[in-house]
Symmetry: C2
Subunit: 310 residues, 2 copies
């Protein structure tokens, strides 16, 4: 095996094409049974398949240039269904100026949408998971808890008032990748480690901690406002929702303290935000420290559900 | 949509990365239900998933450099099954000096193995489907009928004597991509159009004819020796097996007549063979002319079956 610019096991792969340039590649499969909740249209499912891949490129600071698609189609789908899938794929790609340039279809029992992304990057600008140092600021690009609450509503387990319900469900149906933020941050050279949060905030923090051999003290939880009434009304724990939810597409980053302002400005310039949630420390433990109470952050993540509209 | 170096709808996609170089990309999905016959091991299925993708690269004259895999795993598989899949994927990649550098696994109802290939190529060496000219020689890299006969045996529809059976079944279980041949031919500049034959010889000829706006007169059918007793014993037509079988991974090519010797030498130098089967003509019809009898070659191809060992 040649020395890889990104270690095996990461969400994204890269291959050295010379002159300091990398071919950056990613493939991930959306399976309706575990990734598409009831209430999500085929158009939304296809778009989401692209978003979940783009989100991993965002965490590396790489722009996807082209998208390839391999579709496994169950028998029951009609022509309009397939058109909706095609349009959703295209919408997902065009949001980022990328194009669907090829692919393949076949028959399968589940609806399976396998996406491949390709882009190129300067090797020295690539954000990895392994560079966090004690003293670095831990930051995220947005608030957590909305998508997971929306999914819980779509799965029929929980509910919320009409207004809050809409915000939460929309967040689950129309996820957004933080590509603008990732690209802007990779150019600042302020970032020592980055990952997306599709498996949940706690899981993402554990991945960076392990790859970088550091620990974290998290003293500010980025709880979305709308997740609070949802948690209260359904007797759920907001900390649980924020840390161990998933299907969120925020970036989780560590930032050199001297470059914090630069990083924050870069993100704000592209319309985003960068929220400090804690600090990296030498001791390889993940601690949540809120109201002077300390608690271990567990290496638990989002588990896919079983439910589908197809 | 930017102007693509390979038209949308081809089996392979490309993206211009400057200086006359292309990023060449391909994704295709093996679904156990339609691509894995009973009697094919998981190791063989995984290897075949790579071979089917490499074969399309071979037809373009492009060497795959890295392989990404996205796996959908049904619940019944155990640890050893998954190890066999991993080893088969690796075997398929290492046959061509390529490496599996990343991927993703999830749960699915079928076993789904989605492969993505990446390689680079000089734009001017790429073999397309669209360059055949009247007068060009039509050629293939090997004989047809063995794989489809082997599949028919595996599906339990037909049988053969022990010796022939083994050759035919092996051919279906362990397909080989003609990458060496494709790479050697692309360097000769003798090839005006190329495609692989995974959907059958007739289908491949029709694809080149349509893309190049030519017709073909085929006067020599490349029937594999072992397919003859199989056809005779099972009362099957050898022409049918050769033209409309599938899951074969030979290359189908058109060659500039003045460069024929050069092309043949190049293929023989890498241990392969190049067999003339006919000529390209201006009239856009596909004619089989054997023993002074003329017959239309129909645009029919290989249909996937429904049967699986997983």
């Amino acid at each position: 095996m040649p020395k890889l610019p990104i270690p095996f096991g990461d969400d994204v792969s890269a291959y050295d094409i010379g002159n300091g340039n990398l071919a950056v590649l990613k493939t991930d499969m959306l399976v309706a049974k575990t990734d598409v909740p009831r209430g999500m249209s085929l158009w939304q499912a296809a778009r989401k398949a692209v978003v979940m891949n783009v989100s991993d490129f965002a965490a590396k600071g790489v722009k996807p240039k082209v998208v390839l698609v391999s579709l496994g189609l169950p028998k029951g789908l009609n022509e309009n269904d397939i058109k909706q899938i095609g349009m959703g794929l295209n919408a997902g790609a065009r949001e980022w100026d990328a194009y669907v340039i090829g692919g393949d279809t076949g028959e399968a029992s589940d609806l399976v949408i396998s996406i491949s992304l390709f882009g190129t990057a300067r090797k020295r600008l690539l954000m990895l998971r392994s560079g966090a140092k004690p003293g670095d600021i831990v930051a995220v690009t947005g608030f957590f808890g909305k998508s997971v609450a929306g999914l819980k509503i779509l799965l029929g387990e929980f509910d919320a008032s009409a207004e809050v319900r809409k915000v939460l469900v929309d967040s689950a149906l129309m996820p957004h990748a933080r590509l603008k933020e990732g690209l802007a941050l990779s150019r600042t050279k302020a970032i020592t480690a980055a990952i997306d949060s599709s498996d949940g905030l706690a899981w993402s923090l554990h991945e960076i901690a392990r790859a970088s051999n550091v620990g974290f003290v998290i003293n500010k939880l980025p709880i979305a406002e709308e997740a609070k009434p949802f948690a209260r009304d359904n007797k759920l724990d907001t900390i649980e929702l924020t840390l161990y939810g998933g299907e969120e597409y925020e970036l989780v980053l560590t930032v050199k303290p001297a470059f914090w302002k630069k990083a924050q400005n870069a993100v704000e310039k592209v319309g985003g935000k960068l929220l400090q949630i804690g600090k990296a420390v030498a001791e390889t433990q993940l601690i949540l420290e809120i109201d002077d109470k300390k608690k271990l952050i567990e290496p638990r993540g989002w588990e896919h559900f079983k439910s589908s509209n197809v």
